[in-house]
């Protein structure tokens, strides 16, 4: 397996790391791993490096790179508005992989804002054969609101009981989990409001178009978006009546946090991504 520093893009302003399995056989798709928020291309807790290496062991080429102005990439001299620039940058990444390898089909993978870019790029570029979106757009349902409400009540009751017991025993206690957790979830929900979440109708139309075109989609939700997405079949419920909902993979992993902190969680995410790509991609001979 090789890892090489790549400088590319129409203005030579984009910096990335290309992971090549170095094996005679490759998978027929390459993965483009995007920035999560403001974090540079190694990803939160180096998760993008770990994902890229896991993909490499499975024969998948990947490029993790910094969008214009982020990480080690410079701002493009003719910079466009952010979303448009990101689209151009991801296209440049796909161009670069195609120039360096025999791969012509791509999976765009991202967490949070990276997931949002994956969603948009897939609609704009026919080379995208797959999207992997972790903690992308969420669509609450009546059930998800009830689940969230019930959880908050249970947590407060539990904390109250614990506080009572602690006071009886004369013990001091930590910051109550319920209040802190609720604040964390609310903070994340508030941050989501600045992301330009599409309406359910627009999302359904966009996803249906992707699925009809043959794009494989894997939506993954962590416990950190519990405020808005908190049970296994929520996507299907939210889009009941829309065919795409039954044709995309959607997992809810409440034991995993937004930035995949625990090593065990990182290994789980690696395995899920590799397993998903292996399920629908083909093996091809690497270009000599």
């Amino acid at each position: 397996m090789t890892e090489t520093v790549e400088v590319f893009g129409p203005h030579g302003n984009l910096v990335g790391t290309l992971h090549h399995p170095g094996s005679p056989e490759l998978r027929d798709v390459a993965v483009v791993l995007l920035n999560a928020g403001v974090i540079h291309r190694i990803g939160p807790h180096r998760i993008n490096v770990k994902l890229a290496r896991a993909l490499g062991r499975a024969g998948v080429v990947s490029l993790r790179f910094d969008l214009s102005g982020q990480g080690d990439s410079r701002v493009a001299p003719d910079a466009s508005p952010h979303l448009q620039q990101a689209l151009g940058d991801v296209r440049a990444a796909m161009d670069h992989i195609a120039a360096r390898t025999s791969i012509r089909r791509f999976v765009i993978a991202g967490i949070c804002s990276g997931a949002d870019h994956a969603y948009r790029v897939a609609g704009a570029d026919p080379r995208v054969a797959g999207i992997w979106m972790m903690d992308g757009f969420t669509f609450p349902t009546r059930r998800s609101r009830l689940v969230q409400f019930a959880w908050r009540i249970r947590r407060r009751l539990r904390e109250g009981a614990k506080a009572l017991l602690d006071r009886s025993a004369g013990a001091t206690r930590d910051v109550p989990d319920a209040a802190v957790a609720t604040q964390r979830l609310q903070r994340r929900a508030a941050a989501d409001q600045s992301r330009g979440v599409p309406s359910p109708a627009d999302f359904a139309r966009h996803m249906q178009g992707l699925v009809d075109r043959g794009v494989n989609a894997y939506l993954l939700y962590s416990g950190d978006v519990f405020y808005d997405h908190n049970y296994a079949n929520q996507l299907r419920d939210a889009f009941r009546g829309h065919a795409f909902a039954a044709r995309v993979r959607c997992d809810f992993l409440p034991e995993i946090d937004h930035t995949v902190t625990r090593l065990q969680a990182q290994r789980r995410i690696e395995a899920l991504l590799v397993e998903w790509i292996e399920a629908w991609s083909e093996k091809v001979q690497a270009r000599a």
Partner: protein, 263 residues
């Protein structure tokens, strides 16, 4: 800004050289020595902005990742303090070669400052700037563990499993193997000495800290140490820089001032 790989095939390192954009009368470059783990993620943007500003005034800068971190080769568990000190020396020589300078100032942040102290010798560097060095390894590890527990405790999914086992092999999302853990536990203020004949600038927070107490001891010994107080409290482990400045101007100004100073 030129990203590149250096080091050896067995120990490939990643670095970014910020070449001097203006002529300088000083024959001195700057090497930035990262903190560990999440703190390195947090400081990345700051390091880039600092490097760009220094380069603009004629000071070449190299930012780099230790083996087993960032964009360098190696997995999390491949890192250790002795290897990282070697990486600092390797990066130092790479910097001098690429920038065509003969001297370098090392600016180390947190564990990077401690590593820089361990890597220094009579031959390198010309001066060291230490920003809140880790001087008590056991306390540092406990703080990392506590942060992970607090972070997981505030998170819905892990609320029932908030315990981090003793001698854990991870610290805020990064692997720490037993060798590194033992090395960190051995970092002790009494044993941490300044390199002979090297001027040292120490940046400490306003509040009392281990680094402040340690520097008092070094000053009492007559070391060539200057202490500088930074009033801005830098959130070293903040995730995604939520509610905290990515590049606080006070820290940037102080580092610029210290790194532009002539020897």
């Amino acid at each position: 800004m030129t990203p590149f790989r250096f080091g050896t095939t067995q120990r490939p390192l990643y670095g970014v050289l910020h070449a001097a954009a203006a002529p300088s009368r000083r024959d001195t470059a700057v090497l930035l020595c990262n903190p560990f783990g999440q703190e390195a993620v947090r400081i990345h943007r700051f390091g880039r902005v600092l490097a760009e500003r220094l380069a603009r005034v004629g000071v070449p800068v190299l930012r780099f990742d230790y083996f087993g971190t960032g964009d360098s080769g190696g997995d999390d568990n491949d890192g250790d303090l002795i290897g990282w000190a070697d990486d600092v020396r390797t990066a130092h020589l790479e910097l001098l070669n690429r920038s065509q300078t003969t001297r370098a100032i090392w600016a180390g942040m947190r564990l990077g400052a401690t590593i820089a102290l361990g890597a220094a010798s009579t031959e390198m560097p010309a001066r060291i700037v230490l920003w809140e060095p880790i001087v008590d390894g056991a306390r540092y590890l406990k703080a990392l563990d506590d942060h992970t527990v607090r972070s997981m405790a505030s998170f819905y999914g892990m609320a029932r499993n908030r315990q981090i086992p003793a001698n854990s092999n991870e610290a805020i999302g990064f692997g720490i193997d037993s060798r590194l853990r033992q090395q960190l536990l051995q970092i002790d203020a009494d044993a941490l000495r300044l390199p002979r004949g090297v001027d040292v600038d120490l940046i400490v927070p306003r509040a009392e800290s281990d680094a402040k107490a340690w520097s008092a001891g070094r000053l009492a010994e007559g070391s060539r140490l200057r202490q500088h107080r930074l009033d801005h409290e830098f959130q070293w482990t903040a995730e995604e820089a939520l509610n905290t400045a990515l590049v606080p101007i006070e820290a940037l100004s102080l580092l610029m001032h210290l790194l532009e100073l002539p020897e």
